[in-house]
Amino acid sequence: MNNNFTRRDMLRIASVGAAAATVASPAILRAQSGYPDRPINVVIPFDTGGYNDRLARASAPFLQEALGQPLNMINRGGAGALLGHTFFMQQPDDGYTISCSSFGPYVPLNILTQDAPFTVDDFHMINLPSQDYTLMATAADSDIQDAADVIARLQENPGSLSIGIQPASADLVNLMLLLDAHGIERDAVRLVTYDGGGPARNAAAGGVVDIALVGGQGFLPLREQIRPVLVFDEVDNDDWGGDLITDVSGADAEFVYGSQRGWGVHSSFVEKHPDRYEILLNAIETASKSPEMIESLTNQQLATDWRGPEVSNRALRNTAAVMEQHIDLLAGT
């Protein structure tokens, strides 16, 4: 029998492949003494194309310049960021692996509902520029007028409106707190559960559900197709013009923030390598405040505000505390 490929041919092909791989491997941009002297990995616990992925990739050119080393993006999506957060915690805490994630509410959710092998205190936030909030919205052509209308209808008949929502989410906690505040029975409302923010928003915009409660920032591209009803925040940062939760449920209304996204490291890294932490902190701060990065990210509807570690860590821990209080809401609906 005549072989078309000999063993030698196969070896030749393999060696060409290996050579190509060597040539293609990224060259270190600028050799430096001290940290960082090699590329830094960024763990994104979500798939490509989502907010965190876009935030990390859009910030990368500016962070690379500030750090003098390339950033290497690693997407580890799945199980509501549990897999990615666990993977990140397993990496060495030497500052060569950082993470860009929706730490709030996913870290608390991983811990409270998924028995995660870490605690909130294992994470240290450097900066969480994006703080999302729940927005209650309805289709642009809906007959629902405002928050008072929604509450009145639910008080009369809790099952009268179908409500699009993600299970085990900050949005669900907010809905239940709203129902409690207005004496509406929790179990009587008609929830329609969606697996992601996108499908729930589309359902609201298309009138498939009467109202939906989803992260507000994701609604921005749909602005023309929805009517904002209620913003679960003390301020209306995105100029929706809907009611604020503090108007509807009183100044001391209880609510939680949605996704708190940005840059985090291992808490043990901060203790072990204070010098490296200082360098990383400065690089992220410099990049975040640079006009080029602000312009580029603003164009992409991504947040760049510099809040710093103190505010960011407090925000994450607050979310974790409120979530823990309402752990009963986070089980399946």
């Binding site: 029998m1 498939v208 591209p221 749909l222 580029s296």
Partner: protein
Amino acid sequence: MIEFNDVNAALTLLTSSLDAWIWLIPGLAIGLFFGAMPGISITMAMAIFLPMTMYMDFLPSIIFLTAIYTAAGFGGSVPAVLMNIPGTSSAVATTFDGYPMSRAGRHNEALGVALAASVIGTLFAYILLMFLIAPVSRVVLKLGPLELFAVAVWGMLLLGSLTGRSMSRGLLAGAFGVLVGTMGMNTAGHLRNPLELPWLFDGVPVIPAMMGLLAASQLIGLITTDYLIEDEASRKISLKKIIGGMRLALTHPTIILRGSVIGVLVGTIPGVGSSISNLLSYSETKRNAHDADTFGTGNPKGVIAAESANSSSEGGAMATMLALGIPGGGATAILLAAFAMQNIVGGPSFIANNKDIVYAIIFANFAQAVLLLGIGLGFVYIAGYVVRVPLRYLIPSVLVVSTFGAYAIEGNAAGPITLVVFSVIGWAMVRYGYPVAAAVVGLLLGSLLEQNLIRTNQISGGDFIGYAMERPIALVIFALMAISMALSALAKHRRKSRLANLPDQSM
């Protein structure tokens, strides 16, 4: 419906500079290569090259990315035909007949058929897109869970035609697929994961499972064979035969037309897309074919149906993205990100204000489809050499590449483990006469079916009939399904009675 001023402006945009065109061919080449690598999804290929577009102008960057999109859609069919590995989940139905064609020494033809059907599907989809953008933007968002449930049920009808010799074994395999597809967290937040393995919170990784069921099980079965194609004379790579296959595709315009319409319509629905449309189109084509029993054994019509539908889904997804600013899947999400990088926000106002750009994108995609014909021809010609590699080299190489691919998808050992587990299951199924294809279809459709059934129940408060009466689109889908089944049953009955009458006449 088409504004000629804008068409002119679009042509001026495209012809005024060479920039837009330089990126076309590299984009197509990148797409073909990544699409053909098992485990690298279209989204991943586009995400890798997204940062490059930051330094380009708007039109070149969109043309570059859509070129990757178009070519990766076809690239997935190359390993599907040659090795029974769907490079992407949109090429599952391509394996049903493409791979048997290859085994029979008709690999040249199969690749040619796939290429021509893809190119025409893409062209057709973008032509439809020109007319469809406006109505699509009105209808797509109104589609609710009942409508999607109807689409999933339609897809499940395919099970009936994949059963092979034993109906009960086929349905059992399909049910197994559906059950596997419903593992993990369901849409209401309940976890079906008795072992509490964190890897299974999102269910079984679909693509590694599919690769294991379809490909690895086949390859293990081939271990005693020397070559993919037993007959040495048939192992030739022939440009003439590839082109012959392309001609063959042209002789079935109805199949391409049906595939393209199904592809475009299913493609417009966010979250459904090409991985479902190729199954629907295959199922409809098989049911309406007079030679239905040869499907699954290397009937080129099956390849035409699958490829015309999966490549035209791109046009549908683009319509939704352009008209509403909503990504239907990962690939259009990356395109929207590229829009955003250029400070352009997709959505109704984008189309209204930038008709010239929309037409320019559509025309550029026509050009892509035509160029894909040439570049794809070269690509399949080279890829065809796989059939000349002895299986003792090919099987281990493919298994290694598939394992890497499975790792790349999941980013952890869950991918390779799934691949191995499902290879064994797939091998055992083949060994004991259960159709693996039915299990794969169940796996792909299981979660769509379950999620939307749950949501329909939630939204209707349990009153299915009352709710259905308020959903005209769902009723239309169910009616179309019933009519399609009735027509094909009638045709089958007529054929049967004609056959029964034949001996009478001859007597």
